[in-house]
Symmetry: C2
Subunit: 307 residues, 2 copies
């Protein structure tokens, strides 16, 4: 089985949406990526850090999904990263309240020895120096390195971010971030500028409006599945990235044509994530539901005009 | 050849976008629908009204496209409808300045005798009583009636609008209008409620985010083609509707599967419309460009996951 190395937060979240609110629940980019990638035939490991306040049941939940957590450091006496988000009516605007970095502030990632030859590396949203440090520790060049990031690092650590962006094959960011990073409003122009920064593939996530994959002059688009209700968008972007990276890892094929499929798998998994609060839906999700919803994606997008 | 009857304004527009501004130029829903539908193999006629200030060259432009204008009334001493729009930076928000209704205020549509048996009727955005009056004049039930409308009529003539909506097969409206008409934020729920109002097919236009077609439990999605620059969105929705109605008229097939293709044709034509000011691009557009861009739509959306 191919190996996927995941770097990203494993954390607590508190979420409020128009449909309700939660206490401290399981969250973090690494968690969502790991859960999403666990729907593919692969070996995966998460490199991250938590405090010793992190419940054993959450760790068990990850290992039950066959996620290797030997690279998940538990800091004695430390407190786990805690983020909270308040979503407004349209679920597109979010107030991110000041996160409690806690153990994340001094995090030095350590890649497990047996993942230094991982086939695919998924660098979840974290300080770009942490993302770079993971790449530094690899013994061999992975088949594909995917990076997710956010506007926060563009504001606070742009030089370090540009350094790590140079080293990756695929970048996934949302539309506003693509505009900020490139200085261009048009997403087509923004993608072209971001290509020049390093990544051969640029994925722009537009939330409920789908996702675009850019490669040279080629573009592919995957819609978000229209849902009766989006309950909580938390983790949708990470779940998308985990599905993308997971499918590529399983299929060992980094062609543009195969990346189209990976984008569809990512969108498919993300469409489940938003149906319940936090990780809830990803935890009770069955493989068979994933397959069945792929059919919906086909009928949603496929047409038969002869050209 | 099958017949398409078009009802909609033939008018003057003045447009201002971040890329420039125009004087009074050719505009109106009927004009855009007619130009767009002229790319199909069909006979078409526009029912509308202008004043005698309307230039002969604009009338010639329509007849040069084989559009029958015997139902286009020219009011002696009357002034043509004049609308103006100011688009902001993102091109999604528009200030519609108070339109000068002029001859439109007393418009009594008259369907030409040889179009009372039209195969498809495209009711462009106009007062719902005008739209109803056109349906009243038909000798036989058309194969398909498509209605476009806007929030203005929901605010000012809701009972009349609901009356005509009951009588149509397809309604095309944008996302905000779908929410206003249904009272539901979720577009899936909104479409279900609008189905109940009469139309078996609900098309929700999302501008740069594409278009959704709803029919019972089935959904189809067509993206907007990602463009380097959207120069002027004026007329894009009408061009989309004209492409949709034109393709259906030509193909004589009102199945859901064929409507998918019609939605793609509509999106395809709209992607040209926004490349220049007003009707400029639709006037210099060649059939061959339309066909060639369909290939882009295919590679943009088609994937080959085996399920």
């Amino acid at each position: 089985m191919n190996k996927l190395l995941i770097v990203g937060t494993v954390a607590f979240d508190a979420i409020e949406t128009p449909f309700g609110k939660t206490d401290k629940i399981l969250g973090g980019a690494g968690t969502y990526i790991g859960l999403s990638a666990s729907f593919f035939n692969l070996q995966s490991a998460i490199v991250s850090v938590v405090g010793d306040d992190f419940p054993q049941e959450y760790l068990d939940l990850l290992t039950a999904r066959n996620i290797d957590i030997s690279g998940l450091e538990v800091v004695k006496g430390g407190k786990t990263f805690f983020g909270s988000g308040l979503y407004h009516n349209d679920l597109n605007s979010r107030d991110t309240l000041a996160p409690e970095l806690n153990v994340l502030a001094d995090f030095q990632p350590k890649v497990p020895q047996n993942y230094k030859d991982a086939d695919v590396v998924m660098l979840g949203n974290l300080h770009p120096l942490v993302q770079s440090s993971v790449l530094d520790q690899m013994d061999s060049k992975p088949k594909l390195v995917v990076l997710d990031t956010m506007n926060f690092w563009m504001d606070c650590a742009l030089p370090e971010l540009l350094d790590v962006i140079k080293r990756v094959d695929v970048i996934t960011i949302n539309d506003e971030e693509a505009r900020q990073l490139s200085g261009e409003y048009s997403l087509v122009k923004a993608a072209a500028i971001i290509h020049e920064m390093g990544p051969k593939y640029v994925v722009i996530k537009k939330g409920e409006h789908g996702a675009l994959l850019f490669h040279d002059k080629q573009i592919f688009f995957a819609p978000a599945l229209p849902l009766e209700e989006v309950f909580d968008p938390t983790g949708a972007g990470d779940t998308f990235a985990g599905g993308f990276a997971g499918f590529i890892t399983q299929s060992e094929n980094v062609s543009f044509e195969n990346m189209k499929n990976a984008i569809i798998y990512g969108s498919n998994l993300a469409s489940f994530c938003v149906e319940k609060f936090g990780t809830e839906r990803m935890i009770d999700l069955e493989q068979q539901e994933v397959q069945s919803r792929l059919k919906q994606f086909k009928s949603l997008t496929q047409f038969d005009i002869e050209i």
